[in-house]
Subunit: 136 residues, 2 copies
């Protein structure tokens, strides 16, 4: 469970330590594993694991510099998230606006509400209209 890209990204950011690492890379620039591990109470190995998670999610990449592995933040992934979020935020707001319109029209002329089958609050269960396919 959770092997698609978005799942990995969200899962990676669900951990405060990993979010903090991202934050530090964002305003501190690239850093080595040791540097990144220093502030935390946990072992270097643990941080190394965290970095692997971030890497698998595509949030960071590791360069190779002698025995050091400087970690670099890949800002592109943010776009992926933003896109997902914005898409559904938008839809939710649109639907909301449509609902407002319906309520208004109901209030006004007290008759059949346009064409949008919005909401169905506590009315008949509708039952068949669900669209599928998890987020692209």
């Amino acid at each position: 469970m959770s092997d698609d890209r978005l799942s990995r990204v969200f899962a990676a950011l669900a951990d405060p330590t990993r979010r903090d690492i991202v934050a530090r890379l964002a305003d501190g620039g690239d850093a080595t594993v040791g540097e990144l591990a220093e502030p935390y109470a946990v072992s270097v190995q643990a941080v190394s694991k965290h970095l692997k998670v971030l890497e698998d999610a595509g949030l960071v990449s590791r360069r190779k510099d002698a025995q050091r592995r400087p970690v670099h933040l890949e800002a592109d992934v943010f776009d992926l998230m933003t896109k997902w979020i914005e898409r559904y935020r938008r839809e939710a707001e649109d639907r909301f606006r449509r609902l407002d319109a319906v309520l208004e029209s109901l209030d006004d002329e007290r008759g059949d509400p346009l064409d949008a089958p919005v909401g169905d609050q506590a009315a008949r269960p509708a039952g068949a209209s669900r669209t599928e396919e998890a987020a692209s």
Copy 2:
């Protein structure tokens, strides 16, 4: 670990089924637990648990309508995520621009690079400048 708000939100969205539920609420409007569970292969109880996770994260709320519990998408949380993402995306880009400037100035006059201690690519380990406090 992971009891703060953002952690719960990201963790909630790390599951494809839960993301799908959010997506369906976003463009289908409120729906009951049964309706939401119908498309999936899993039990209704499992979906009920998913909804609890979403609710604890503040992504949805449940109204009370007889024995049904219509689920409603709380679009506000999206702002929280967007804010977090945008903040660090911005910083990363700023840092990037600053780096460009430094490289440019190095290229130009071949001397001490302004004041911003950007990047330190493979130079001395710097060692002490890390700022703390995980994302608010």
